[in-house]
């Protein structure tokens, strides 16, 4: 039988494995930098780090607070990344899906990356203190319905066996089902309240590996399709556009939701779209490198029962 609490003891061995491999890679000159996690200032916390010197590899770690999807440091936030040579990156299963998507969209090249995979039992929700223990209550919602505890296709995986994992009910799945059962008017009331909270800080956009447009449609004013001020009408438009632009691409790393200061359940929309695209076109994002996504390809037999 499965246990109730995820066993995080493997993270010590995972940390050791990452450090040793990073040290070997940098010493041998196989990579010019490693993007990984290091301990943060608050007890138990961790934060992203870019290591370019083999002597610094002891600073790398992996823990229940290694939540960030580091993929974003390879594309949008790559200021501190050396321009030449291979880059090593520490990836959880969920982060790997984003990398796979970015490769499909020609934003990254597999041969320029060295993937250090992490056998992962889960990370903490963003709403609890970093020193909290990982339990069925404190685990991040995305980890409850994770199907990628062991990332596949990495160049290196620490030699650690995954412990038996607890069976946790999916909060996203349940919430999507709850909303689907409501009437359109009730759903409108729900989302209206959620969107009204948005302050248009665009943290969700900034952190998203797939929001890499040089100029976002929502920032343009000639023509202005989306009102830019943080008010109900423009907010609603922003959230609809955001969900639409990520449909078929988002693999659910839920970083948007983690960074949102107003606690808007952003990933719910993305996951709903992922569910619909799976039903409509049998497509799941992040599983393999595809140069066409579900909304950039078609078949002649696609459903058109909604068209007169």
């Amino acid at each position: 039988m499965s246990t109730r609490v995820p066993d995080t003891s493997i993270y010590f061995a995972v940390t050791e494995g990452i450090r040793a491999e990073a040290n070997r890679l940098l010493s041998a000159g196989e990579v010019t930098a490693i993007v990984g996690y290091t301990t943060g200032r608050r007890t138990g916390s961790s934060q992203p780090i870019i290591v370019t010197d083999a002597d610094d590899t002891a600073r790398l770690c992996f823990s229940v607070t290694s939540v960030n999807n580091l993929a974003v440091y390879l594309t949008k936030a790559k200021k501190e990344i050396p321009k030449n040579g291979k880059i090593g990156i520490v990836v959880k299963g969920c982060d790997l899906k984003a990398l796979v998507g970015l490769m499909g969209e020609s934003q990254l090249k597999r041969e320029e990356l060295y993937l250090i995979g992490v056998p992962c039992v889960g990370v903490l929700a963003s709403t609890v203190q970093p020193s909290t223990e990982l339990t069925a209550e404190t685990i991040a919602p995305k980890c409850r319905e994770c199907d990628a505890h062991l990332p596949s296709g990495c160049d290196f995986l620490p030699d650690v066996a995954l412990p038996p994992l607890p069976q946790l009910d999916g909060k996203y799945t349940a919430e999507i089902a709850r909303l689907e059962a409501l009437t359109p008017a009730e759903r409108w009331v729900y989302w209206k309240e959620q969107f009204a909270k948005c302050i248009k800080c665009y943290a969700c956009r900034q952190v998203c590996p797939f929001c890499f447009c040089e100029q976002c449609l929502c920032d343009r004013n000639k023509p202005q399709m989306v009102d830019t001020t943080p008010r109900p009408s423009g907010n609603t438009a922003w959230h609809i556009v955001r969900a639409m632009h990520l449909a078929g691409r988002c693999a659910g790393c839920a970083e948007c939701e983690r960074v949102c200061p107003m606690d808007i359940p952003l990933n719910l929309l993305n996951r709903k779209m992922a569910k619909e695209l799976k039903e409509l076109f049998d497509y799941e994002a992040g599983l393999e490198v595809n140069d066409k996504g579900p909304l950039t390809m078609f078949t002649e037999k696609d459903d058109q029962s909604f068209i007169k």
Binding site: L179, E180, P184, A185, E186, R187, W188, V189, Y190, W191, K192, L217, M225, V226, R231, P232, S233, T236, A237, I240, V241, A243, M244, A247, G248, L269, K272, M273, E276, L277, L280, F281, P294, L295, T296, M297, F298, T299, E300, D302, D303, Q304, F306, I307, K308
Partner: protein, 165 residues
């Protein structure tokens, strides 16, 4: 159909159509002197593939009560595959709108060729009457109104001040 009937509500219908098929179809309806509701405002695009879902959103925000998107039948696209792409995109977009809480009865998609003036009349008439029965689309308009404190005069003090003007 008796077009002289007086209705208490005339819905605004925005039709996004492609220039090669549906626009020509609507033109045919016109030159053949077929009658259809004057509620529809036609916006011409090169192809359904050019119709961004955000246009539909914008239409609702600007006061549309119903939206029609129409183009060439599959296989007839002037740009070969534009309507195939559009078909997928709108299949997904419908699901999103539905999840947000928009009544999909206000959004119609159709294929109308240059020879189908009759079908154009039918599609436009059906949508107009359906939306007329549903009444005005208030959701997006309300959002815009909420942004202005004076949008809805709902406090007694404001009402009094307003009536005094």
């Amino acid at each position: 159909m008796n077009h002289t009937t007086q209705h208490s509500f005339e819905p605004k219908i925005i039709a996004f159509v492609c220039t090669w098929c549906t626009y020509a179809g609507a033109d045919l309806a016109g030159t053949s002197r077929m009658q259809y509701p004057a509620n529809v405002r036609v916006l011409k695009f090169p192809c359904t593939g050019r119709i961004d879902p955000v246009f539909i959103l914008k239409a609702f925000q600007q006061g549309a009560d119903g939206v029609l998107v129409s183009g060439c039948h599959p296989g007839d696209c002037h740009y070969i595959a534009g309507n195939f792409h559009a078909r997928r995109r709108f299949a997904a977009f419908r699901k999103l709108l539905e999840f947000i809480g928009v009544d999909l009865n206000r959004l119609q998609f159709s294929w109308v060729s240059a020879a189908e003036g009759g079908k154009w009349v039918e599609v436009v008439t059906d949508l107009t009457e359906k939306v007329r029965a549903m009444g005005p689309m208030v959701e997006f308009k309300e959002l815009a109104l909420e942004e202005q404190w004076s949008g809805v005069i709902d406090t007694p003090e404001l009402k009094e001040a307003y009536n005094a003007i």
